[in-house]
């Protein structure tokens, strides 16, 4: 059978700073045009001034009807650009795409919503923008309102909606589209957990109904659950194309080999995802373990971990706290260590460079990668916060001393199993006769 979607050698070039040709002011345009005849190599001149960037490079794959494809990759790998090209929002620089079915794309929740229009009006507007016919929207109207749970506010302008209501309504409209190919980008990252579940359920229904779905998400569990096939993008190229399970595995193995983050010492001045209220007070984070093992390789389960957080206080205070959050690869918080809970703090007011040490005698997390969120509170309010400040890898290891590495679950706890010696058994409690009688 011919594939419903064929992507052939798609490349997309952007020019950094100013995107793709254009976006010049009149003055620049005239300057360039006027100077052109006097320049030896006008193209080279442009190349020097502007850095080119290939968001996608020779991307090819095809999708069969009814397939549910997950597109996985880190931020900036080119996923969104790819979806935009498939949705015809922007043109490829080279290559071509063949579509053999009607496509609807949902790159953002609530596209075309107008704050002044009521919920009812926005359902029609949004539906029309996403490619639905008026009659279709009327037919689905009740189902949409039902799904969004906004009956009471149907005739209220959406500017008065809570953000939760807004998102629910927006997703509800999109969920009732009936295209042959549905393209969804990360829209599930919004809303509360219950509604996210509902959305995922709806997505599952859509895929089960035999429609073709292209799904981009950072939620690996969702990708594994919904998709049969996974394509992994890395720096604009397809680096993996296979089952969703293997795709997720490939993606995650790429993450743990990411350079820089896991090490003895991380300089925080280069942190990307940072929220500093005034100054960047957090300076450096150092890790050590008692085994003398090189931390760049990872820790074994149950190792001691000593974390030294270097930071600075600009004003003398005794009221400050440092926190460390351990998040797993699904972004779930597994463990929080905060000085807030430390009962034996006895220091007075301090100022200037400080080192706060967190001593974890036994880090009993399951094998895997953990991303650390680090924050500093001063006088009970957040002063500096860094997401993904460092990464810790816990290696498969023989924690229980049985020659087997544990699996399943989030952490290990010291525990023992044993059979009670037969002589101790209280016969009156466990008599088969009593059980029979109960049955």
């Amino acid at each position: 059978m011919e594939p419903i979607l064929e992507v052939n050698n798609i490349s997309k070039e952007y020019i950094l700073g100013r995107r793709v040709r254009g976006s010049e002011t009149f003055r620049e345009l005239f300057q360039r045009k006027l100077a052109a005849p006097f320049r030896r190599n006008p193209v080279a001149e442009l190349d020097i001034r502007r850095e080119h960037f290939w968001a996608l490079r020779d991307v090819s794959f095809s999708v069969q009807e009814g397939e549910v494809l997950g597109i996985i990759g880190r931020n900036g790998a080119g996923k969104s650009t790819l979806l935009k090209i498939i949705s015809r929002i922007t043109d490829p620089t080279t290559g071509s795409i063949r579509l053999r079915g009607r496509l609807a794309s949902l790159l953002e929740v609530g596209t075309g919503f107008h704050p002044e229009l009521t919920g009812r009006e926005n359902i029609f507007m949004n539906g029309a923008i996403l490619g639905m016919k008026r009659a279709e929207i009327s037919r689905e109207f009740d189902a949409i309102v039902d799904f969004a749970e906004i009956e009471k506010f149907l005739d209220t302008p959406v500017k008065h909606y809570s953000s939760g209501m807004y998102v629910r309504l927006a997703f509800a409209v999109a969920a009732h589209l009936h295209p042959e190919i549905l393209v969804v980008d990360e829209v599930l990252a919004v809303g509360d957990v219950t509604f996210q579940k509902k959305c995922l359920g709806k997505m599952g229904d859509v895929s089960k109904s035999g429609r073709t779905v292209l799904f981009v998400s950072h939620n690996m569990a969702a990708v594994e659950n919904l998709c049969q096939r996974g394509v992994v993008l890395e720096r604009g190229k397809v680096v993996f194309d296979g089952t969703a399970k293997d795709g997720v595995k490939h993606y995650l193995s790429g993450i743990s080999s990411a350079p820089g983050a896991t090490g003895h010492s991380v300089d925080l001045s280069r942190a990307k995802d940072r929220r500093s209220q005034q100054a960047q007070l957090l300076k450096r984070i150092q890790f050590s373990t008692d085994g003398g093992r090189d931390l760049t390789e990872g820790l074994s389960i149950g190792s001691a971990l000593k974390v030294r957080v270097h930071f600075e206080l600009h004003r003398p205070t005794a009221s400050f706290n440092v926190g460390l959050g351990f998040d797993n690869i699904f972004g779930q918080r597994i463990f929080t260590a905060s000085s807030f809970f430390e009962p034996k703090r006895s220091h007075g007011e301090v100022v200037g460079p400080q080192v706060f040490v967190c001593d974890i005698p036994s880090l009993t997390l399951m094998p895997g990668d953990y991303s650390l969120r680090l924050w500093l509170d001063v006088n009970n309010s957040e002063a500096d916060l860094i997401n993904d400040a460092a990464r810790i890898t816990v290696l498969e290891s023989d924690y229980y001393g049985s020659g087997k590495s544990p699996w399943n679950g989030a952490f290990v706890l010291p525990h023992n199993w044993y059979l009670e010696p037969a002589a101790k058994t209280d016969a009156s409690e466990e008599r088969p006769g009593v059980l029979t009688a109960k049955l």
Partner: protein
Amino acid sequence: MSTFDLKIRPKSGWQPLDLPEAFLYRELLGFLIWRDIKIRYRQTALGGLWAVLQPLIAMTIFTFVFHRLAGVHSDGPPYALFAFAGLTPWTFFATAVNQSSNSLISNQQLVSKVYFPRIFIPLGAVGALLLDMLLSILLLLGLMIFYGWALTWAVLWLPLFMLAAIMSASGIGLMLSALNVNFRDVKYAVPFLIQMGLFVTPVIYPASYLSSKWRYVLALNPMAGVVEGFRHALLGSPIHWNSTAISLGIGALLFVAGLLVFRRLEARFADVI
């Protein structure tokens, strides 16, 4: 699987208009117009009354300043009617050009997040103002009864001149909206140009003030013919058909040029906006 088959490939150069696709999305054009009408007067106390108040106030001021003080005379009907009949298409044109030239920018989210024929965005902005023009025409008919000025059979020409007004406004609006994506200078230039335009369009004065040579120069302005035509159709004023025809022809050319320029620049809207 449906018979749907589409090939996406890099586009460059001049693009033809995709009429079948525009037809497929025709309902959306209606929705965009409806939305613009709905939100235009939301949260205003006077609401849709603004559509008739604006030309009415302008008419009063024009009559006082240009007729009473400066001594400009109409070519037949009472000056107030004369001014209002000119202001009706001119206000439509000025507002439509202004709104449509900014339409892509104010709908950035739509342009960068969802696909549909982009041409509908500036066209929708123009279409939403048709209602105002119709209300204004109705008001003029009321004023004519008030002044005891009779309608003639020339009114049958009105649809033609309305179409010409729509084409001129859309042509310029399409062109400017596309340029506005790259050059935000447009946003600042448009109000100024519209103000200038009022003086090279026979809104305040009758075209018959000019010698026939200058009338042909005036005809290069597409709105000159439209304004003259509106007065002929509604008030029965004399019309100079040769210069009017030229003017309408230029309006039609502008419309085609607007479509072409828009289609040519369309491919990179989402990347640049």
